[in-house]
């Protein structure tokens, strides 16, 4: 009976292979389930809720956060002001067939924002902070002229108001559809960050989230350009060239931790890695230390000592 069981096995294999269709992106986004760390799929509602903040409860994998979610989480819901950013021409190098305009229109409908970068100003613990965040749903978070100008204007506004800058960086680099112009925005954003750092005397804190590559890591979000560089844990990748390019160039198998945030911590390009639930407090801690701001608790102890002095007197 051995050959019969063999045939049955082969038949089953064929059946499973036919049935094993990969779901489309639309099906994936509509599905209630997501495959994360365990063998079995996880419920999306377990990960994408306000308590978990788009992180997996089992493996701490961090899923993308949109700028609005980010600001809501950091400043408190609607406790901040979204700033207007400049709007240079959409297609400065006349890319043929209006391909780029169509892409921009789609992205604008999806995100409801003019460019990939959102700039906000708000207060947390009494400190006014100017913050920018990049939306990677907006054509991969690539920096075109309006996004670049937004970052420049964020630094300009912070310089004017003398506030610290908090950057949430992610995205794939410079926009290919604006070739020469987009490339110059590497210089412009570095220039803006540098002017801010020199003239304002305020800190610039940069946090790596999601995937940060290319012209973004090589300009305003460079590890050494920001005063403090934090990163989110699992799910964050930091590098210059993408993994496929590195693999093609070197023709080697890459280590599984290549370009991950934990590897970048080992190599020395990130100050620390914090979970999304605690990162806000850590940022405020370091800001208070850098700006010589006193905690409420400290004030309380001060009062206590004063009272004690009075009593003793």
């Amino acid at each position: 009976m051995n050959w019969i069981s063999k045939i049955l096995k082969v038949g089953e294999k064929i059946k499973t292979n036919i049935q094993k269709k990969f779901p489309t992106k639309k099906q994936q986004s509509e599905s209630k389930w997501i495959s994360c760390c365990s063998e079995y799929p996880n419920l999306k509602s377990e990960i994408f809720n306000e308590e978990q903040l788009n992180t997996c409860p089992r493996c701490d994998r961090h899923y993308p956060f949109t700028p609005r979610e980010r600001f809501n989480h950091f400043f408190g819901k609607n406790n901040y002001e979204i700033l207007d950013t400049p709007r240079p021409p959409d297609n400065p190098i006349d890319w043929p067939d209006k391909i780029y305009e169509k892409k921009l229109k789609k992205a604008r409908e999806l995100t409801g924002h003019h460019c990939a970068v959102m700039v906000a100003q708000g207060k947390r613990d009494g400190i006014k902070i100017t913050s920018f965040a990049i939306d990677s749903r907006f054509i991969g978070g690539s920096i075109n002229n309006s996004s670049g100008e937004a970052i420049v204007s964020c630094f300009a506004k912070a310089l004017e108001d003398k506030t610290p800058v908090l950057g949430w960086s992610e995205g794939g680099g410079q926009a290919m559809y604006q070739s020469g112009i987009a490339l110059q925005f590497m210089v412009k954003t570095v220039l803006a960050a540098n002017t801010f750092k020199k003239e304002s005397g305020q800190p610039y804190i940069n946090i790596y989230t999601n995937k940060v590559y290319g012209g973004i890591t090589a300009s305003f979000a460079a590890p050494s350009l920001s005063d403090i560089a934090f990163s989110e844990p699992k799910g964050t990748m930091i590098g210059f060239a993408g993994q496929a390019i590195v693999r093609n160039q070197t023709r080697e198998e890459l280590n599984s931790d290549f370009q991950t945030s934990s590897r970048m911590l080992e190599v020395g390009f990130v100050d620390a890695i914090f979970h999304r639930k605690e990162i806000n407090d850590k940022i405020m801690n370091i800001l208070k230390i850098l700006l010589h701001k006193k905690n409420n608790e400290f004030e309380a102890t001060d009062n206590n000592t004063k009272i004690r002095e009075k009593i003793s007197a």
Partner: protein, 368 residues
């Protein structure tokens, strides 16, 4: 042995014929050199070259920019400058041979030269890593740029690279960090800096060294965010559609001058820089000399401000914005239309109420 591009077939045949004629001891046993025929063929070649090179498409320009015989940084450094002293090492990790750097004299004045070198034959190309710089190379240029700044020596960059090297080691030693630091350092320099794009200016590897007071470009050089092949692969999943990609990316010198990304084009001889090296040497020399002279009398702050203003103004014309009148401000001035639009948005409610009241008045007036 010369190298020919695929659109130069006719020129290749003619030049081979010419070489045969010029050599009287070839296998056919000719004893006389036919000068008439030689001059005739020579003029024919010149005509053909003019015909082909007067109307190159962007992809053909890319091929010319990458031509094997094209003069490289080393040739320009050897022939433009006297008393060149090569300096190497970044003092942190190692020496990057893909960038040649050192102090020299140019027309009697001290100068710092930094040139990305691709190499002339296979061995030197491997040694030079095909002009792809590693973080060590960028850190070396930062070290030398600071040194030149200290002694008030102008800096000249020659740019010829396909891009920064995408290797595992380079990534982990901080390729991105080194590029950002180079840009930051070159924006802080108080001495005139001039970049000359002599071949390929590829992506972040090129922009790091071309954030200078003046960016010059040879007429058949290219400067873009990604190679045409890479762009075609990403857009159409077809690496052969290079012509469309090259056209769309506006990577040629003429287009970039119109966009304001570069400041000046240095004309090349007919048939590309490799066909008449003396001609291109003379042109580059004149151009660098003129630009250095223009920047010579500026003070430290003026140079820094000029550079800052130049880069901040790129990509700001057109659309809903106008040029900021304040020279060194980071922020842009919004234009008249933008102001009106903004006001309409802010007084939306009042405007609607006002319009509604006016409408009622008109109706009442009509009926009563």
């Amino acid at each position: 042995m010369r190298n020919y591009l695929n659109f130069e077939d006719k020129i290749k045949n003619l030049e081979n014929e010419l070489d045969k004629l010029k050599d009287p001891y070839n296998n056919e046993g000719l004893s006389e050199v036919d000068t008439n025929k030689i001059s005739k063929i020579q003029s024919e070649i010149d005509e053909k070259l003019k015909e082909v090179y007067s109307d190159l498409n962007p992809w053909q320009i890319t091929l010319v920019a990458r031509h094997e015989d094209r003069p490289k940084s080393k040739f320009f450094i050897d022939n433009l400058f006297e008393e060149f002293i090569p300096l190497s090492g970044d003092r942190f990790y190692g020496e990057d041979k893909s960038v040649i750097s050192g102090f020299a004299k140019f027309e009697g004045n001290s100068i710092l030269v930094i040139g990305q070198e691709k190499g002339d034959d296979l061995d030197s190309r491997i040694k030079r890593n095909f002009g792809m710089m590693r973080p060590e190379g960028y850190r070396k240029t930062i070290r030398l740029m600071r040194l030149a700044d200290k002694f008030k020596i102008p800096i000249i960059f020659f740019i010829d690279t396909p891009g920064a090297y995408p290797g595992v080691g380079a990534e982990e030693r901080g390729q991105a960090e080194a590029i950002a630091k180079t840009i930051e350092c070159s924006m802080e320099l108080g001495v005139p800096t001039i970049s000359v794009i002599i071949g390929e200016g590829g992506s972040g590897g090129a922009v790091a060294l071309s954030s200078s007071s003046k960016v010059l470009m040879l007429s058949n050089a290219i400067y873009s965010v990604i190679s045409p092949e890479g762009c075609a692969t990403i857009l159409w999943r077809d690496p052969t559609k290079t012509l469309e990609a090259a056209k769309a990316m506006k990577l040629s010198a003429k287009d970039l001058l119109n966009l304001g990304v570069i400041d000046e084009i240095i004309t090349e001889p007919v048939g590309g820089a490799h066909r008449d090296r003396d001609f291109i040497l003379k042109n580059i020399k004149n151009s660098i000399f003129k630009n250095l002279n223009d920047l010579k009398d500026l003070s430290r702050d003026e140079i820094i401000n000029q550079r800052k203003k130049k880069f901040l103004s790129i990509g700001r014309s057109g659309g809903f914005v106008t040029q900021s009148t304040d020279e060194n401000s980071l922020s842009m001035k919004t234009s008249f239309f933008m102001d009106i639009k903004k006001r309409i948005y802010t007084f939306k409610k009042e405007l609607i109420i006002f319009g509604f009241l006016a409408f009622i008045f008109v109706i009442l007036y009509y009926f009563l």
